[in-house]
């Protein structure tokens, strides 16, 4: 019987199965960061248990680390304690790789894993972070877990799971100029809703997806969780293999050849059936801007802020009214008339080299508008930062009035000093526009890097297709 990619990946990892279908799934790669691991390390120690397989662990500090003045260290004592706790825990247990604060390869865990070749096709990848779905771009079963599960993986190298339903999300056609993987992700969420993928594993397929770079696929899979799906993935093709060749933890020589021939089987068979199929036309996707406090509250840049009065469902209407009030927006306002205060280019969704190149192309030779209080570029990792500097992208951003920072999660969740003040409005390339996400009272609009750059230059949202 033809199998889906999900079936293949699942089957390849089942260690044991209970009568009700709950399975013990083997975990190949465990990514660890400072926020969701301390309680797990402590639990392990208290129970007198050991880390099952040290070489499965790749760790870095990213959520709490400052993005400027590294010479001063981490000034917030609580954040510092968390990062130092991770240092101590890794010193004690060991890891395949650890990229601590200030290491040249340190960065956001979901950027660091793939760029070092620590994420390989066919792996199960977990991390105490919901955006672990990012790694699905490499045909991995990759998803976020809670801290109890982090401890479970540390102690047993396995997780207890039930099989998900499968969804095929097919995007056929060619994306227009200025339309990116981020816009595809937001358009998908706008279509199926933030709970549309709940209980599903999403396979992204179709010619528009095959046309995306690995960076673009990572952006898309990263946002699968915002559609409610714990994981999203893309089949292996030449793009995947070309990306991995020569990465530090990728296999070499004869083992590489063997790996590649296995990886090439990691796609859904012809005629495999899915529980749900959703189709989008690439040509119909326009640059997207969220207007509310959930990623599904999204419209194209040339549209207007929706009017709750036109919504029939009372629960939805109330949700829209509450969101508009929080966002300080009036129904029917054209999106392009919404002025922004801050611009953030970064996060595990959009902080890779390709994202920075695309934003720099918009910014080049232009100036950030006078009403913008802060425009921030935060590369996803030390390696991305170095690469960007080699290409002179930092100079383009700085000349335009952007701040060029050290890598980390930064204003994506504002656990460090980078944040919005109450009422401030931000064009952000991150993944969540929840109330208070970027700082208490802050107002987040999710956009692509190109659109964030365009908003910085215009001082308000602007259709990047008119600028390019």
């Amino acid at each position: 019987m033809p199998q889906t990619l999900y079936d293949k990946l699942w089957q390849d990892h089942v260690v044991h199965e209970e009568a009700d279908g709950t399975a013990l799934i083997y975990i190949d790669r465990h990514l660890v960061h400072e926020v969701t691991s301390p309680q797990a390390f402590e639990g392990l120690k208290l129970a007198g248990r050991k880390l099952w397989r040290v070489s499965s662990v790749v760790a870095t500090a990213d959520h709490n680390t400052p993005t400027d003045h590294w010479e001063r260290g981490i000034e917030d004592p609580v954040s510092r304690q968390q990062v130092e706790t991770l240092d101590a825990n890794i010193r004690e247990t060991g890891a395949l790789a650890y990229f601590p604060f200030k290491d040249p390869r340190q960065g956001i865990v979901h950027v660091v894993g793939p760029e070092n070749g620590a994420t390989l096709p066919g792996m199960t990848v977990v991390c105490g972070d919901s955006h672990t779905s990012t790694h699905g771009a490499f045909a991995c079963l990759a998803h976020g877990i809670g801290t109890s599960e982090v401890e479970h993986v540390m102690a047993t190298q396995c997780l207890l799971q039930k099989k998900s339903k499968t969804m095929l999300l097919r995007v056929e056609g060619r994306l227009g100029k200025g339309v990116t993987a981020k816009d595809v992700a937001l358009a998908v969420i706008g279509r199926i809703g933030t709970a549309g993928g709940t209980g599903y594993a999403i396979e992204f397929a179709g010619s528009a997806i095959r046309g995306l770079s690995m960076e673009g696929r990572m952006t898309l899979c990263n946002m699968a969780i915002e559609a409610g799906a714990r994981m999203g993935f893309v089949a292996v093709d030449d793009t995947t293999i070309d990306y991995l060749r020569g990465r530090p933890f990728a296999p070499k020589g004869e083992v590489w050849e063997r790996a590649v021939s296995y990886w090439r089987t990691l796609r859904s068979d012809e005629g495999a059936s899915f529980d749900r199929v959703v189709e989008l036309r690439a040509e119909e996707i326009r640059p997207q801007v969220t207007w509310g406090t959930s990623p599904e509250m999204v419209v194209p840049v040339d549209a207007t802020v929706p009017d709750p009065a036109k919504e029939a469902d009372p629960v939805r209407r109330e949700g829209m009214e509450r969101a508009l009030q929080y966002m300080g927006l009036v129904p029917n306002t054209p999106i392009s008339e919404i002025a922004v205060d801050k611009v953030f280019i970064g996060s595990c969704t959009n902080s890779r080299i390709e994202d920075l190149r695309a934003a720099a192309a918009v910014v080049k030779g232009r100036r950030v508008a006078a009403n913008i209080r802060l425009a921030l570029v935060v590369p996803g990792s030390g390696l991305v930062k170095q690469q960007a500097e080699r290409e002179g992208l930092d100079k383009i951003f700085v000349a335009a009035g952007f701040e060029w920072r050290e890598p980390g999660c930064s204003m994506c969740l504002a656990m460090n000093a980078d944040r919005l003040e109450p009422g401030e409005r931000c064009a952000s390339t991150s993944n969540r526009n929840f109330e208070g996400r970027q700082g208490a009272g802050g107002r987040t609009h999710l956009v692509s890097p190109e659109m964030a750059a365009a908003a910085a230059i215009a001082g308000h949202f602007a259709d990047v297709r008119d600028i390019l």
């Binding site: 709950t22 066919g122 207890l160 933030t194």
Partner: protein, 212 residues
């Protein structure tokens, strides 16, 4: 983990869809390296008028009188009644830790986000999925009836209303066993240690690149 067998508890209604884990416990409290003490900061941004900081004495902070969980009639609630897609967003287990510390042992909603749903079971919280019309009816009853309580019987898989009506619910057999017995997942899994080792050895031979 504490066992969950039967609960008779006061119900508090949180009438919003898509309540995310950032709202349940804002990020500044994630800097803690402990599992406990998150209760006073559950729903922090909705519950208080000021911006909360870790390590603060919350009893002195100005409360938001309009936030439902601040109303006197819902103090001591153990059952949270809410809407669709509860617990979406970040995977932080601090969210169920905060809800548990606040006093909730069961959550009733039309649907839950996957990771949050999973995290609840690891902490002895029972998330129950009920059809939309049952949730609507419960909201109406809770609002109309001060001191409204529900009885949740896990072995019988039923929520019993004060008027005697029983609402059945589904739960995975394995999860049910774990809750009823208060079992530690890790201990259970380690009974299969030999199987895991054998699986790992086979994998090491077939896909050596995974074990570099």
């Amino acid at each position: 983990m504490d066992k969950f067998i039967r609960l008779d508890g006061l119900v508090a209604p949180l009438d919003r869809a898509n309540v995310d884990t950032d709202a349940i416990i804002p990020k500044q409290f994630l800097k803690s390296i402990k599992r406990s003490g998150f209760g006073p900061n559950a729903f922090d941004e909705w519950r208080y008028m000021d911006v909360g900081q870790p390590g603060q004495d919350c009893s002195q902070r100005p409360k938001n009188p309009n936030f439902v969980l601040n109303q006197p009639r819902y103090q001591g609630a153990q059952v949270l009644l809410t809407r669709a897609n509860f617990g979406c967003g970040s995977s932080r287990e601090h969210a169920p830790w905060a809800l548990l510390d606040f006093g909730f042992r069961a959550i009733l909603a039309e649907s839950f986000a996957d990771i949050f749903f999973n995290n609840c079971f690891k902490n002895g919280i029972l998330p129950i999925v009920l059809p939309a019309q049952e949730i609507d009816a419960l909201f109406a009853q809770v609002e109309a009836t001060p001191g409204y309580r529900l009885t949740i019987d896990l072995s019988a898989q039923v929520v019993v209303r004060p008027d005697g009506k029983g609402i059945p619910f589904q739960i995975d057999a394995f999860r049910k066993e774990c809750l009823l017995n208060g079992w530690d997942d890790i201990g259970l899994t380690l009974r299969h240690a030999d199987k895991i080792k054998a699986f790992e050895e086979k994998r090491r031979i077939e896909q050596p690149w995974l074990f570099a």
